[in-house]
């Protein structure tokens, strides 16, 4: 999902944990207790969380770009307001998540540095371009739909600040998917050109949306540990299947075709069976070779660099003000 690169190995020295503390920690997790910032936790738990939460935060912030691309071109004032509010929400969600990650002893500056240097990953989905207005519909419907599928179980994740951030995010995101689906519905009920626009967008976004859930369980190295620690509560494949089952009928209602000739309903299991995902493409995009990776990073870096003088200025102003207040106090004494 937004932390689909978790499959990669965690760097850093291996730490041998005290088995007694470890057992007590696991007992708390098993009892569905929440772990809070100052509690003892295994170093691997802390690192996994920092990585997962920050990847999630980075995804929200980079995710502002492909949709932000259309704020100035939204075709009606109503759509413009909704899109601006939605992209702003994503910034807000990034902010909540950075704050949650910071409770684990890492600063936002460090996390930004990891993103901008290319060391930290973000969801592969945001490296695809938004070419037409229908892409905005598809992102809301599919990308936010997939995100919600992943995020609802995260509201019960074992780390307190992360779970609380997710509750807030899920509450706010409920309008995002509806916003997207409404755009798709309007296009599909519109002119033939508009419907073709909707179909073209679905063709381009369907497979990347399925990749959002991360590699198949058979190749996912960290799933087991993350499940044991209740950082994760469903496997990648379970969530992907849930998403497909929920989404396919919605697509059919729109009168659109999914770009998967193998897609069919399996009466026996009640699930929609889908074709093979191109994992080579997934790995390529995650490794930095998607259509927009370089542009997205360049845009983030540009905003950060061009904002440096502003951040410096406010800190300088605050320092000046403190100095003046101190001087006044001394003078008064």
């Amino acid at each position: 999902m937004y932390s689909q690169a978790l499959n990669e190995r965690i760097e850093g020295p291996r730490i041998v944990e005290d088995p007694e503390k470890l057992a007590a920690f696991q007992a708390r997790i098993d009892a569905e207790e929440r772990i809070e910032p100052n509690d003892w936790m295994p170093e691997a738990y802390r690192r996994t969380l920092i990585r997962q939460i920050s990847q999630h935060a980075h995804s929200e912030v980079v995710g502002m770009l492909p949709e932000g691309n259309w704020i100035t071109r939204a075709p009606s004032l109503r759509r413009k307001a909704a899109l601006l509010a939605k992209v702003q929400d994503e910034g807000g969600h990034g902010l909540y998540l950075y704050a949650a990650a910071e409770t684990l002893g890492v600063s936002r500056e460090e996390l930004y540095e990891q993103l901008l240097s290319g060391k930290a990953k973000y969801s592969s989905i945001f490296n695809y371009p938004t070419l037409t207005w229908a892409d905005i519909g598809c992102i809301g419907w599919l990308v936010d739909g997939a995100a919600i599928m992943n995020q609802i179980p995260l509201c019960r994740t074992s780390y307190g600040p992360y779970a609380r951030a997710m509750i807030r995010i899920c509450k706010e995101e409920s309008f995002h998917q509806r916003q997207g689906y409404e755009i798709m519905l309007t296009l599909c009920r519109g002119t033939p050109e508009q419907k073709a626009m909707a179909q073209d967008a679905l063709n381009r976004w369907w497979w990347p949306s399925l990749m959002m859930f991360g590699p198949p369980d058979s190749e996912s190295r960290h799933t087991e540990e993350s499940m044991r620690w209740k950082i994760k509560r469903f496997t990648n494949d379970e969530l992907r299947q849930k998403f497909v089952d929920a989404t396919v009928p919605q697509g059919h209602y729109l009168g659109l075709t999914f770009p998967d000739p193998e897609l069919r309903f399996d009466e026996a299991t009640g699930h929609w069976r889908f074709g093979r995902i191109d994992w080579e493409e997934f790995k390529r995009v995650l490794a930095g070779h998607g259509p927009c990776n370089r542009e997205r990073m360049a845009a983030r870096r540009k905003a950060h660099e061009e904002g440096a003088w502003v951040r410096e200025a406010v800190l300088a102003h605050a320092a000046k003000r403190r100095a003046r207040e101190r001087a006044q106090k001394i003078a008064a004494e």
């Binding site: 912030v61 502002m64 770009l65 932000g68 704020i71 100035t72 071109r73 075709p75 009606s76 004032l77 109503r78 759509r79 413009k80 307001a81 601006l84 509010a85 992209v87 702003q88 910034g91 807000g92 990034g94 902010l95 950075y98 207005w133 755009i183 309007t186 296009l187 519109g190 002119t191 050109e193 508009q194 845009a299 540009k302 905003a303 061009e306 904002g307 440096a308 003088w309 502003v310 951040r311 410096e312 200025a313 406010v314 300088a316 102003h317 605050a318 000046k320």
Partner: protein, 256 residues
């Protein structure tokens, strides 16, 4: 759909001016979303843009009702060309750097806060109601932009330099805020519009207070820009509209 023609009575022209200024200002602010100096500011500027967009929509709706030809807010926003737009020139200037945005928003908010306060007493009851909502929103915009102006003016050497430059560039566009043409006169006379002359003292007081706190001087205006109210714009509005109106123009008559 091709460009529409709006038969402007003074009342309609006046409401459209306010709507256009709010929309174009909102549009420029929305360009920051995803590109601000810090995440907190992405959110703040988007909030201001959303407030202004909300004001614009209410004003267009009112304008459409005044026209009485069954047009929508979108017809007015998307199907008029640059010369028909009557926004203040200051709103259409490109986004610029963060100092430029802050100075522009401070100047506009310092004007529109007392303006909307007075407009609550408008004899046009719809406009008075819009003013009641806008007044509170702009009070916050002023607080936000004003605090930033002080930080940037009294921050580092660089932030001060950029702020002074923005102020020098933008000050000549403040004359338009107080312009009264035949439309304005008729509206003031009818008790529909506040007289900008009564807004001026509060505007100047606010600006002088903020500039003093920021350690900056008010620029000396040798000459003031003009034209927005007559539809004579800068070169930038055409580009802005080309982007904003693109889909409505490319697919005439489609519903979005």
């Amino acid at each position: 759909m091709t460009t529409i023609h709006v038969e402007e009575t003074p009342h309609l022209a006046y409401v459209l001016r306010l709507a256009d200024s709010a929309l174009i200002n909102s549009h420029r602010l929305s360009e920051w979303c995803g590109h601000a100096p810090m995440l907190e500011e992405d959110l703040a500027l988007a909030n201001i843009a959303l407030d202004l967009l909300g004001q614009a929509r209410l004003l267009y709706e009112h304008a459409a009702a005044l026209e009485g030809r069954g047009r929508s807010e979108d017809d007015l926003a998307y199907l008029r060309d640059a010369p028909q737009f009557k926004n203040l020139l200051i709103t259409e200037l490109p986004r610029g750097d963060f100092a430029f945005t802050i100075v522009r928003q401070t100047l506009l908010s310092a004007f529109f806060h007392p303006f909307w306060q007075l407009a609550r007493g408008s004899s046009d009851r719809t406009l008075a109601a819009i003013a009641g909502k806008a007044e509170k929103e702009v009070a916050y915009h002023l607080r936000h932009a004003g605090a930033w102006l002080v930080r940037l003016g009294d921050g580092t050497e660089e932030s001060r330099k950029r702020t002074v430059e923005a102020l020098e560039t933008l000050w000549p566009y403040t004359g338009e805020l107080f312009e009264v043409d035949a439309v304005g006169e008729a509206m003031i006379e009818a008790g529909i519009a506040p007289d900008p002359a009564s807004v001026r003292p509060v505007f100047e007081q606010t600006i002088d207070r903020l500039l003093a706190e920021a350690g900056l001087a008010r620029p000396v205006a040798a000459w003031m820009q003009t034209g927005g109210l007559r539809g004579v714009h800068t070169e930038h509005l055409g580009h802005l509209l080309a982007v904003m109106q693109h889909l409505q123009r490319a697919y005439p008559g489609a519903v979005w």
